[in-house]
């Protein structure tokens, strides 16, 4: 069965092939052209398809190009923005760096403590030149005064008391060539609370070599009243005898001064001058030995005569030699009192310090013409003192802490005296014109006066021993032991002018202790 099927199929195939072969031969030529046409058409179709495809691709590409162009534009814009941002960032960074540096600078300034000069400069800028300054001193004092005997029958008694004194100095500078200074004292003294205008004057700086002082001022005679009377400046608590209860020249004056200084050699080799005039000397009465109560006020009956004074000082040692500072001075003060009677005085003084040693002294003399042909009222006074700072002291074998305390001490010694023909008993019993504006009562201690009767003797002498403990350059605890050694001679004079010999004068002792702050 199967073989038959294969055979029949083969036969049919042969028939078909035969038939086909016949037809092919017949249509060879036509078939060639048709084929070519078909091919052309196919090619055309293919070309169309390709063109269509290409167009599509072109469109797609164009779309892509457009897209890319848009994208590129955005990129460019972004790039520009980035560049701008970058520039801003750089600027901001620079600003930040500068700010950071400034902050660091400020931080440094904030952290660093302000210097006193910066602070002072700021205050000065704020206040301007019209400024006040208050300086001066304050002190508390204790005095024990042993009055062992009577003086010319006057009451006497040993005394001890506390005192307090406050002496502010006000400085006012309206401009750089004018200064006003005024000192007033307020204290609780021998008569209770009292006040006193010590000095008040204008200082006009005319040029390098001339200054005019006008007003109420300390007597520029020697250098004690001017330079040594402030309580923190005076190494002792009391004044030397010629400047105490029996002054040889008036302590103050109301008038005018012309003064100045100049350098004549090397640095430190200077000279200075002071000439002045004023209301003149004044005395508590017209009897022999009357105390001076200058400055003369307009209400006084003794204002007709005026005064004139002069002082010249020289400093011969140059600073470079390190030989210290030596001052040599000469002074004179002359005037008329009680309508035409002369008062003449002159004196010399010195001051020398080198290293820890300081010495000073003065000698002064006055002549007072007395009315009605009486013998003249002559007075002389002197003092010399020395002090030695124990700075640098190192005592072996004791702790350093003790040495530190010892180095602050300054032992002192002073010898002073006054010679005068007579002393008015009224001045001993009543106000003497010294201390707080004349509030001191005779034989009663007061601030800076030990009150011993012996200091009122016509020929008084005193040895003063001192021991200062310096807490700071202007803060001091002072201790003083006074030994009064008056000489015989001279007279006591009553208010009527009756004279009695001074006779025996008690040798008193006094102890004073004072705490003073110079501010």
């Amino acid at each position: 069965m199967r073989v038959s099927q294969i055979f029949s199929t083969f036969l049919c195939a042969l028939v078909v092939a035969a038939l086909s072969s016949g037809r092919a031969h017949a249509a060879d030529s036509d078939a060639d052209s048709a084929t070519a046409s078909k091919e052309s058409r196919a090619e055309m179709r293919q070309l169309r398809e390709e063109r269509k495809h290409d167009r599509q691709e072109i469109r797609a590409l164009e779309t892509k190009v457009h897209q890319l162009e848009g994208t590129n534009s955005k990129v460019e814009t972004n790039a520009q923005q980035i560049q701008t941002t970058d520039q801003k960032l750089k600027e901001t960074t620079l600003e930040l760096q500068q700010t950071d540096q400034w902050v660091k600078t400020l931080q440094t300034r904030v952290n660093a403590p302000i210097t006193s000069s910066q602070f002072g400069g700021a205050v000065e800028q704020y206040l301007g030149s019209h400024t006040f300054t208050v300086t001066g001193a304050a002190g508390g004092q204790f005095i024990y005064d042993q009055q062992s005997d009577a003086l010319d029958g006057l009451h006497h008694a040993s005394q001890n008391s506390f005192f307090f004194d406050w002496e502010p100095m006000i400085l006012y500078r309206p401009t750089d060539w004018i200064l006003f200074q005024g000192v007033f004292s307020a204290g609780f003294g021998s008569t209770g609370t009292g006040t006193d205008l010590s000095t008040a004057d204008f200082q006009l700086f005319l040029n390098k070599y001339m200054t005019v002082v006008a007003g109420l001022f300390d007597q520029p005679f020697g250098d004690w009243y001017e330079a040594q009377s402030p309580m923190w400046v005076n190494r002792f608590i009391t004044a030397p005898l010629p400047y105490g209860v029996e002054p040889v020249v008036p302590p103050g004056e109301l008038g005018l001064q012309l003064r100045g200084g100049f350098q004549w050699g090397a640095l430190g080799q200077d000279a200075d001058y002071t000439i002045w005039g004023g209301n003149g000397p004044n005395f508590s009465s017209d009897v022999l030995g009357a105390a001076m109560s200058s400055p003369t006020s307009i209400a006084s009956a003794e204002t007709n005569g005026k005064s004139i004074g002069a002082r010249f000082r020289i400093y011969p040692l140059p600073v470079a030699t390190e030989w210290g500072r030596l001052e040599l001075g000469a002074s004179t003060y002359n005037g008329k009192w009680m309508n035409g009677n002369w008062f003449n005085s002159w004196g010399v003084d010195f001051n020398y310090f080198v290293g820890n040693l300081q010495t000073r002294g003065a000698w002064l003399s006055s002549y007072r013409q007395m009315p009605d042909g009486q013998a003249s009222d002559n007075r002389q006074g002197w003092y010399v003192q020395a002090g030695y700072f124990l700075t640098g002291l190192k005592v072996p074998g004791i702790p350093e802490m003790i040495n530190n305390y010892l180095r602050r001490f300054e032992p002192l010694v002073r010898y002073s005296g006054v010679n005068q023909r007579g002393v008015s008993t009224d001045d001993i019993e009543a106000a003497t014109g010294v201390g707080l504006g004349g509030t001191q009562i005779g034989l009663v201690p007061d601030f800076g006066i030990n009150g011993s009767p012996a200091t009122y003797a016509p020929h008084s002498r005193e040895v003063a021993l001192g021991l200062d403990y310096w807490i700071a350059p202007s803060i001091v605890w002072q201790n003083e032991f006074d030994i009064e050694l008056p000489r015989a001679g001279g007279v006591f004079v009553s208010s009527t002018g009756a004279e009695t010999p001074a006779g025996s004068i008690p040798n008193d002792h006094a102890f004073l202790s004072q705490f003073t702050i110079g501010f």
Partner: protein
């Protein structure tokens, strides 16, 4: 005596008044080098001049404007030469 004193004073005022402004102007126009020179000189003079009468007080105790006034007063009291006063002031104000 009064006539003599008044004559001296008037002569002094006439002579001196010409120098007032010059002195103030000199201080204003001072150069930094001049300030340094004054400071060094003031450091030498401060212990010498001040200790003549009292313990030398350090510059830190007072403000600069206070030293201006205090040194004016000290110049009067001590009769210091003007240049020396300026030198000490320079030193005190610098502390």
């Amino acid at each position: 005596m009064k006539k003599i004193f008044v004559a001296i004073l008037l002569a002094a005022l006439a002579l001196g008044s010409t120098g007032v402004r010059a002195s103030a102007q000199e201080q204003d126009n001072m150069s930094p080098a001049e300030h340094k020179r004054l400071f060094r000189e003031g450091a030498k003079l401060w212990p010498v001049y001040c200790n003549t009468c009292h313990n030398a007080r350090p510059g830190s105790e007072k403000a600069p404007y206070e030293w201006d006034q205090i040194m004016m007063h000290m110049r009067t009291l001590g009769n210091f030469p003007q240049e020396d006063t300026q030198a000490i002031l320079e030193y005190l104000k610098a502390r």
